[in-house]
């Protein structure tokens, strides 16, 4: 989650919002409208100098066109690279496909230009989908390699395919009798490219409008639950799937979206320059797009825009060339760097000095200042407080139990696992386990290390497919379902080490827990219909209620990474609650907590039971287990050792000896 996201999604002070919830929908709406107006205004100001088509303005309009094309491609790459953390080196390839496909469909295909553009974008999307499906199992360097392979393949085909004129470019005299595409006509308007003096470059109007729209739409996406799901994937795919995100689907979607934006950059190039040369679509292009994203600020809304404008300006202005000349003059006529080398140096310097890019660095400064002010305002309440989960009896009575929560249906079995086993090769990690959990029950699973407790939790939540047996939840068969499907069915979980978005605010962490993260369709995220605003307000109110429930109200705007460990656990529980689960699986929630924190955790879990949630608690702290559990299952070597009430199990001789023969009194 980017700095800017946090800013927008949690900027208005919490207390104010709880006092005046009615004003919520209006303010984000107004802010979005303001951003859109500003984006369009900047777009039109950029092309103002070209309004009379005077000769000197032509080169300026060409510069603006290059910037627009680069911006669109970089915005697309940013969704992929900045949010989902998939570093693609193939964006230049899609750019080239978009450019050549448009030109070829118009000239050789004889298509209507608008149709040709749509066709070119569809082609980019299709190629993107194929590459995405092929590469989605890969992460890190392998993913980058496969996308690089694509970019190189495209470059080779353009360089060597006779159809595209090879080095003569497209179109060329020999094949087409012209070196420029004819200006396209749409609805009676002729869209002139910025090429000829004293002809107004009319194509610039749709170009800058489209660029502004792309920026606006990508901002909507980045700040929607759809965008949160990308950040979740970037953080950890396993976490994302536990938040109900269909990771494979989502990754393919975002790759296709990025490909189409990449292609759109190429379309703009074709429309504005009317002639294509294969050598302009080489690896340098693809790397320049990556650099634009990193330089401007990867994972921020305005970063790709700032980066693209900056890089294009640097490359096309004389500054780099002059730097090269200076070196030749003062250092050596041979040992110097010209433009590509200087771009490389700039890249390294950016990585070293400004890893968050221009926008990210500025954003962090602004955020930091604002946050410090907040902490001061809080009168030191907060971190200085005894780090511990608060006794929540109060919080429970405050919190309105909403109608959807599963209270009142206690008793009927919610989860039934029968004969579940899991083998890893020859090792039987879990064998023939049964487990039944009723609504409103706390079921503790204990056992020595390596007993298969975590494996059991992973079998239940879909991380592993059971080798045998069945899992039924609310009467539905969920055996072997993927984690996101189990999560959607109503099973939430927390992890042994809290898996949070450390750079995002506490509030944003909870917001990511809502089912919307996995379910919001792309169109709704991009266009942001009024229903989205209403839902955002609802989610925010609910998130604040949940934070209150776990005692984190005063930390809403803090970065999650700044919370003490105990509160990180509480935050993870709040996020789990946001998905409106029936059952929550907690994997060693008390690990690493202080005694006071453990007591607070016990209070919290009891209050959750009072709200009607069913809990499975994998735990080592016997005092906690004895205090909260309705039923205890003790496992040893993958099998059931003992089951019953805490008193029965903890006094069972088999259980005692499984724990290395220590008498249980020492534990409790």
């Amino acid at each position: 989650m980017s700095i800017l996201d946090q800013e927008s999604r949690s900027a208005p002070p919490t207390r104010e919002s709880s006092r005046r919830p009615a004003r919520w929908p209006a303010r984000p709406w107004a802010r979005d409208a303001l951003f859109a107006v500003a984006a369009l205004a900047v777009a039109f100001i950029a092309i103002l100098p070209g309004r009379d088509g005077a000769g000197p303005s032509i080169s300026l309009m060409q510069l603006v066109a290059s910037m627009a094309a680069m911006t669109v491609a970089a915005v697309g790459l940013n969704l992929l690279m900045g949010y989902a953390k998939l570093v693609s080196l193939g964006q230049g390839g899609f750019y080239a496909i978009g450019a050549y496909a448009t030109a070829w469909l118009v000239l050789d295909g004889g298509w209507h230009p608008l149709l040709a553009i749509a066709g070119a974008l569809a082609l980019c999307g299709a190629v993107g989908a194929v590459v995405a499906v092929a590469s989605m199992q890969l992460r890190g360097p392998q993913f980058s390699v496969i996308t690089l392979v694509l970019a190189i393949l495209v470059e080779r085909i353009l360089n060597e395919g006779a159809l595209f004129g090879r080095l003569a470019g497209y179109p060329n005299h020999a094949q087409h009798g012209t070196t420029g595409l004819p200006p396209i006509e749409v609805l009676g308007f002729t869209l002139e490219p910025p090429m000829i003096a004293n002809t107004v470059a009319t194509v610039m109007v749709p170009v800058v409008v489209v660029t502004a729209l792309v920026v606006i739409v990508s901002r909507n996406i980045a700040r929607s639950p759809w965008g949160s799901s990308l950040s979740a994937i970037g953080e950890s795919e396993m976490l994302a799937s536990h938040l109900g995100v269909d990771v494979f689907h989502r990754k393919v979607s975002v790759f296709v979206l990025a490909s189409v934006f990449g292609g759109l950059g190429g379309v703009i190039t074709t429309l504005c320059f009317a002639h294509l040369q294969p050598e302009t679509f080489d690896i340098f292009l693809t790397i320049t797009i990556v650099l634009a994203v990193v330089f401007g600020g990867s994972g921020t809304v305005l970063g790709p825009l700032v980066g693209a404008v900056g890089i294009v300006w640097l490359e096309q202005s004389d500054i780099l060339a002059q730097l090269g000349d200076l070196q030749q003059e003062y250092i050596s006529s041979q040992w110097y760097l010209s433009t590509p080398g200087l771009v490389g140096v700039l890249f390294v310097l950016t990585l070293f000095l400004m890893p968050k890019g221009i926008v990210g660095t500025i954003g962090a400064l602004v955020m930091g200042r604002r946050q410090r002010a907040d902490v001061a305002e809080d009168d030191g309440a907060g971190l200085q407080e005894t780090a511990g989960l608060p006794a929540t009896a109060e919080a429970v009575s405050d919190a309105s139990v909403d109608g959807a929560s599963p209270a009142g249906r206690a008793g009927e079995p919610l989860l039934v696992m029968r004969g579940v086993g899991k083998n890893f090769g020859g090792l039987k990690a879990v064998a023939d386990m049964d487990l039944t959990v009723g609504r409103g029950q706390i079921h503790a699973v204990i056992g020595p290390n390596g007993a298969g407790k975590s494996t059991l939790a992973n079998l239940l939540t879909g991380v592993y497919k059971p080798s045998s047996g069945s899992v039924r939840f609310e009467g539905r068969e969920i055996t072997g379902l993927a984690p996101h499907k189990v999560a959607r069915a109503g099973v939430a979980r927390t992890f042994q080490t809290p898996q949070l978005f450390h750079d995002a605010t506490v509030l944003d962490n909870v917001l990511a827990g809502f089912p919307d993260t996995g379910r919001t369709p792309l169109w709704a995220a991009a266009l942001k219909p009024p229903s989205r605003y209403r839902r955002d307000a609802e989610m925010r109110a609910e998130a604040e209620r949940l934070l209150n429930l776990v005692g984190l109200t005063e930390f809403t705007r803090l970065r999650a990474g700044e919370l003490p460990y105990g509160k990180q656990r509480a935050l993870e529980i709040a996020r789990a609650l946001a998905s409106q689960p029936e059952l929550i699986v907690l994997d060693e929630p008390a690990a690493g907590l202080l005694a006071t924190e453990t007591a607070g955790l016990g209070d919290l879990l009891l209050s959750l039971r009072a709200h009607g949630y069913a809990l499975i608690v994998v735990e080592h702290h016997m005092d906690l287990v004895a205090r909260i559990a309705d039923q205890v299952t003790c496992m040893d070597q993958g099998r059931l050792l003992s089951r019953g009430t805490p008193q029965q199990v903890l006094s069972d001789e088999g259980v005692v000896s499984a724990y290395l023969g220590k008498p249980m009194e020492e534990h409790s």
């Binding site: 199992q137 496969i146 690089l148 393949l153 080398g341 890249f347």
Partner: protein, 289 residues
Amino acid sequence: MDALVLGLVLGGLYALLAQSFVLTFITTKTLNFAVGEFVALGAFVVLAVAGWSWLPDVGKLAVGVLVAAVVGAAAYRFLVVPFMTEGEHDVRWLLSTVALSFVMLNLITNVEGPSPQRSETARLSGAVDVLGAGVSKQQLLIAVLAVVVTVLLVVASKKTSAGLVMRAVSQDPETTSLMGVSPRLVGMVTYAVAMGIAALTGTLYAATVGASPVMGAPLLVASIAVAVVGGLSSLWGPLLGGALYGVLSEVTSYEFGAIWGETAGLLLVIVVLVWRPQGLLGRRTEVKL
């Protein structure tokens, strides 16, 4: 048949360079995208010392390899290590090595000029007949060297203590560092060896096509492809990947034209990655929660 033999020989060239990717990947989980420029660096250094008549060709080769090794170790220390600090999803090193490739390419071009220069060092002239196909001795030398280097690396990794350390670092850098071994030092040594191999490839290759700044680019693409097909975590991978890639691309370009040869090779990468993401001989590492 001709295409088959030529494909295998070509595959040897790619396999030799692919070994440098595999080496760095096994120990440091990183790839140096500037390998193509180390190929050119090696070739030009050897070209620069070609006039030292007191030094035998093997010595000149060694100078090229050493220079590339030192630069490679420095590149790892200053451009890779600072950019891999945030876990396995941190791939900033990828961008910094790409940037290094830009800088080196630009610098070499400015110093030496863009056109290829003839290189006579370590050059075997003439051709031999292999199963009815005429193969230049130089190409055969490279292919044989690929096998020799692979065998040496495998033996070294299995039998020597340095190899043991290397494998330990690759499996668990943290625990290894607790045992008093510096993963950073091991990484630097690995990068030195890997870039030395790149320089060796460059010198021998330059004897056939001449030394030019961009000579590494086509080799880079093919050898990444070969390394990925064979499996980035397997020392034997490059030989298998090289044979497959070389034969496929050579046979295809023989039948359908040069552009399809390369396309077929790159499509092979995609097919293999979809089918076995870890490569043909690679080991899959399970992700644990």
